[in-house]
């Protein structure tokens, strides 16, 4: 019996190899090969508020960006530091409540509350998560999931921070264009910042902590310290999102600590392509509007939503971006073996 066997061979495109080094600046073709995907993303994001038909959809874009920040922080922690975080709700909640308190009690402007909530909130989240950082395994995921649930109960039980009613009367951004372009620019800033970070030497240390933490200890570095730095960076993204969110809704309540903020970023990362950093942002751009469109179906939308997820996991588990990058950089052909 002689069955002809074939195998898919993948080769880097010539232009990809040429643009790896300094030769990239030789011609417009090479230059555009490198910059076009980035330009499409940046210009596309900036154009989004302009092409949206209604104020309702413009608001959806802002929410997309909040989720994108969370998904970015999840992808960074999970695929570059090796910490699976379910703490999206914690980050949003801490950042949101901080901004709300600063705005309503001390009368600070959004211009001031957002950066302070980002830095202070990230510090608080890092302190919360510090005890489980020396541990390996699933503990980080469990503890980071527990905090938002516990904090919501504490707020309701003690009736602090507005209890179930939440904190109302928070100042808005003032202008919806300011609001949208601020969150879009923040997403772009954190996206390209994170991409740069993981390729710096300290980024290599983060990846090494994920690859092989014992070797990092043997190299004379504290893995707990580097994990804490990474958690600070990731929670800063989340807290920034939370602070923006309360100024968008002009309200802060226990729904900031909801499970949605922990789960949707993970789904977006699966759809967009894990470990690419751009993928999760794209995933949010797809998932959040879909879940808005399906609002008409009431609770049934969860079913549609799950079906999309399952389809992606079964048919394209690598995610859109990984698939796209492969097609962009490589060509494939069948070869006999």
């Amino acid at each position: 019996m002689n069955i002809e066997q074939r195998r898919k061979e993948r080769l880097d495109r010539g232009i990809k190899v040429r643009t790896d080094g300094l030769y990239a600046i030789m011609s417009w073709r090479e230059l555009s090969y490198l910059t076009l995907p980035r330009l499409v993303l940046i210009l596309g994001m900036l154009a989004l508020p302009l092409i949206m038909p209604s104020m309702y959809w413009q608001r959806v874009i802002s929410i997309v960006c909040i989720y994108a920040l969370l998904a970015l922080s999840f992808d960074f922690l999970a695929h570059f530091v090796g910490l699976v975080s379910l703490g999206g709700g914690l980050f949003i909640g801490v950042g949101g409540y901080l901004a709300a308190i600063m705005n309503t009690h001390f009368g600070m402007l959004p211009l001031l509350t957002i950066p302070i909530a980002t830095v202070v909130g990230a510090g608080i989240c890092t302190l919360f998560l510090l005890p489980c950082l020396p541990l390996r395994g699933v503990y980080f995921a469990i503890v980071s999931l527990m905090y938002p649930l516990a904090l919501a109960r504490v707020i309701v039980a003690l009736d602090i921070l507005g209890g179930t009613d939440g904190i109302m009367g928070i100042e808005s951004f003032g202008n919806r264009w300011v609001e949208q372009y601020f969150v879009i620019l923040m997403v772009l800033l954190f996206l390209f910042g994170a991409r740069r970070l993981v390729n710096l030497d300290i980024g290599l240390v983060f990846r090494a902590v994920k690859d092989n933490d014992q070797a990092v200890r043997a190299s004379g570095m504290s893995i707990t310290f580097y994990k804490a730095v990474a958690v600070f960076i990731a929670s800063a993204m989340g807290c920034m999102g939370g602070a923006c969110l309360v100024h968008i809704y002009m309200w802060s309540g226990i729904s900031l600590l909801a499970l949605d903020f922990s789960i949707l970023p993970i789904a977006a990362t699966v759809i967009g392509g894990a470990g690419t950093l751009v993928g999760p942002v794209l995933g949010c751009l797809i998932l959040v509007p879909i879940s808005e469109l399906l609002r008409a179906f009431g609770t049934l939308r969860i079913v549609f939503y799950s079906l999309i997820l399952v389809a992606f996991i079964v048919f394209r588990s690598e995610g859109i971006m990984v698939y796209g990058q492969r097609k962009y950089h490589q060509f494939e052909r069948w070869v006999k073996i």
Partner: protein, 262 residues
Amino acid sequence: MSNQPILQVQDVTKAFGGVIAVNRVSLDVNEGEIVGIIGPNGSGKTTLINCVTGFIKMTSGRVLFRGKDISGKPAHKIADMGITRTFQIMRPYYSLPCYKNLVIPLFSPRAKRTGGWRGGGKLGDRDTVGIDILEEIGFERDSFVPYKIASTLPTGYLKRLELARCLALKPEIIICDEIFSGLSMSEIASMVPLIERLQMDGITLIMIEHRLRELFRVSNRVMVLNFGEKVIEGTPEEIMANEKVKEVYFGSEEVEEVMSHA
């Protein structure tokens, strides 16, 4: 060279529950020496160095480095003082190219302080320093080898990469956990001069080995462990001649073979 031993292991004991893996083992290591630790499987060699390097906490005993008590310190603090180790099961960063593997130890506080291997307190570009270290350890500079992803390399190179990771910290002591195991005869033959050169550079080496012939050739002193206890300590010649070692550990045939080749 001062008279004080660089590393003093005093009555180190490690018990895992009821099992005593290492029982009151003491060892003095002088500066510039190569000390071998041998013993059958499960005799506590790796546990002993895990205790010394802080990767596990010892039950009792003390470890002194240049007269300073380092027992109970975390592993990264001990590595920061210059006591580095390789792992029996190699632990490179498999997804990174070889020279990028060395960027990580070169990022450590100790490397920044000392300037990395051969550095005079000033660390240049980490990629370049990494390739320099790889060249010294036997990676051909102008070949593709330093740029290859670590997971594609054969065992021989990975063992060298383990040593290179230690060298990046500019260590005072390197503890090698079975650096010869899994290598071919020719790879070992090229590894032995490397070990000797490290000794000439003033690095103190502690080597856990099963390859007795090569170990006896390079080491100044050898300690034999059995069931977590120290059987004997002495020069390679003394160890080979010792009846107790023959009976307890080697089995007579292998000793003869080692003797005839040494």
